[in-house]
Subunit: 352 residues, 2 copies
């Protein structure tokens, strides 16, 4: 049903609880095996159980054979479960990485040669002081860093320039990162005490095939489609057994580490709920138990009542500067009516 | 006994537990009043109770009258409790801010005019999602930003250029920040729900009166003195009733927000234990209960045994890259023998 192949469970997932790597296991690593009460039975992206019939990926096509041995079929529109027209074509590169083309696209030139997943070692290591996992990915050292305009790996492929996208034109694309920060089934190298194999998935979301511009300059219909892409990825990744939390984000500007200028964002499917969302989930759960209401809804309702820090309130979306903002330009954007997660929102709210 | 005046307790400290600001108090703010189990009975900088006789500030002199109405007395060496020669002269600027001159110094020129504490409003606001306090300091917007070399506010004062340091020459100096991030007894302005007055102290540590250079280029005797300064500040701030955690740090480089190039660092005396140290303290406490040993000592001992990531091990000091480092150049520097806090270390270890 899903367009992705769920990775074989890494060895440490086969037992009832996570097993750590070989070697000496000091006492301070015990915390790594403890069940995290705050993320138990939770998926960061969705309140819907993974087995629920309401989780329906928007799947248009699929090619399991390497891209070099088959030409992608042309896309055709298909109505998504919630009534938004969004086609998706799934391809698998020779190195096993998935590429999802959303909307219309044109096949790549005949000379297309897919780039290869970086080599390296991936681990996650338990930090006994901060009580959190740290993800290691040695292969990221070699990632593409601010390439020349003509060498952009996110542009459409042309004769003589094969990019990450096996298409000579496309609307929007998602592909598994060639330099993933987290990755299930990856080589680990020797595991030190407190380490285990990496897990999860790292995806890149390309907003458009046009190199110039940004999220803010996309036309409205492209923005609509992009939100549908996010919802689709969120829905699909949340179903994976190696993903506990889906984080959709964009780093903007070289100061925060951008290495490519083509308009794009990223998605991390983490094998655990990271510390900050874990705290937020626990806080929301406590609030729910005490009051029977949703913490996010309560905060938004209070801001709408106070009318002091609300900067947007229309079409079912509220944007406000929280009273305890941590940054000068921090804005929280939430649906005015309660929604468990992005895929559960109505398409009208997603468009807004 | 101490050279600082402990600020009058702000109103919210007078009751048995913190009281929040006026106005509507939503349910989600309740967490702000809960006792934080991890920081109960703890002071981040010292294991020594504030009332213990072993807490002895190195006090050389004191001037409670404004600097403009009295010329500082010349410093004289005095042997500190642990046998290190370090003089300290305490002054109070007209706006009430303390200046501590360590070692020898020369009086300021007769024309000296002390700079004034910025105006503004200071608050701390409870973030109900992240379950943490956020400190607000509106006056910091106007702080000195990368001034010309000749206008450096950390250089010695000269005729026509009055700086933060009321001295025409000095060895090392500490002063209360003119643009404090946290500050007890400061004006608050109107308090929104979940906010209360700011509390704590923000200090600037000037390593030397020479504008050029950095921590790394200081001569050995200046480095020795600087560690004694840190220990003195730590000891003194930990005794304040409005300080729960003392954080000594230096931001290096404009990329991380440095606004002055003269070699200096900062000290924050927070009115709470911040989230990361709170997690680390809780982890260390659990480890202690389970094993009877210190977590930091255990980690250092394991690294010394493995001899893989140790980069320094001499004179009672161990420097190592932790197995679960979060940054490429992360190094932990710890004493080889257990020490509760910086002021409890031997002067030999501090010199090392």
């Amino acid at each position: 049903m899903s367009g992705t192949t769920v990775s074989a469970r890494p060895p440490w997932r086969r037992a009832g609880c996570p097993q750590l790597g070989q070697g000496h296991e000091p006492e301070y690593i015990r915390g790594a095996n403890a069940t995290n009460r705050t993320d138990q039975n939770r998926r960061g992206c969705s309140d819907t159980p993974a087995s629920s019939a309401s989780v329906r990926p928007i799947l248009q096509g699929r090619m399991d054979s390497p891209i070099m041995s088959a030409v992608p079929t042309a896309s055709a529109d298909r109505r998504s479960p919630r009534g938004v027209r969004l086609a998706r074509t799934t391809m698998v590169q020779p190195d096993g990485r998935h590429v999802y083309l959303y909307g219309a696209f044109q096949p790549p030139p005949a000379s297309y040669v897919a780039p290869l997943l970086t080599s390296g070692e991936w681990q996650q290591r338990w930090n006994p002081l901060r009580q959190e996992w740290v993800m290691y990915a040695s292969g990221r050292q070699g990632r593409t860093f601010l390439p020349e305009r003509a060498a952009c790996p996110l542009c459409p492929s042309t004769e003589g320039h094969s990019t990450e996208i096996p298409a000579s034109a496309y609307d929007a694309a998602v592909f598994e990162n060639r330099f993933p920060a987290v990755r299930s089934g990856a080589p680990t190298g020797p595991l030190p005490p407190g380490a285990k194999p990496s897990a999860g998935v790292s995806e890149v979301v390309v907003y458009t095939d046009r190199h110039e511009g940004s999220f803010g300059t996309l036309p409205a219909d492209r923005l609509d489609a992009l939100v549908e892409v996010w919802a689709d990825r969120c829905r699909e990744l949340a179903r994976r057994s190696d993903v506990r939390y889906v984080f959709i984000f964009e780093n903007r500007g070289e100061a925060v580490g951008v290495t490519l200028h083509h308009p794009h964002g990223q998605i991390m499917g983490y094998p655990f709920v990271p510390p900050v969302p874990a705290i937020e989930l626990a806080a929301a759960s406590r609030h729910q138990r005490r009051t029977g209401t949703c913490l996010h809804c309560t905060l938004a309702a209070d801001e709408r009542r106070a009318k002091v820090r609300v900067i947007l309130d229309q079409d079912g979306i509220v944007g406000y500067v929280p009273v305890s903002a941590r940054w000068p330009y921090e804005v929280h954007v939430v649906p005015a009516r309660h929604v468990g997660a992005l895929p559960d929102s109505s398409s009208a709210v997603r468009r807004a």
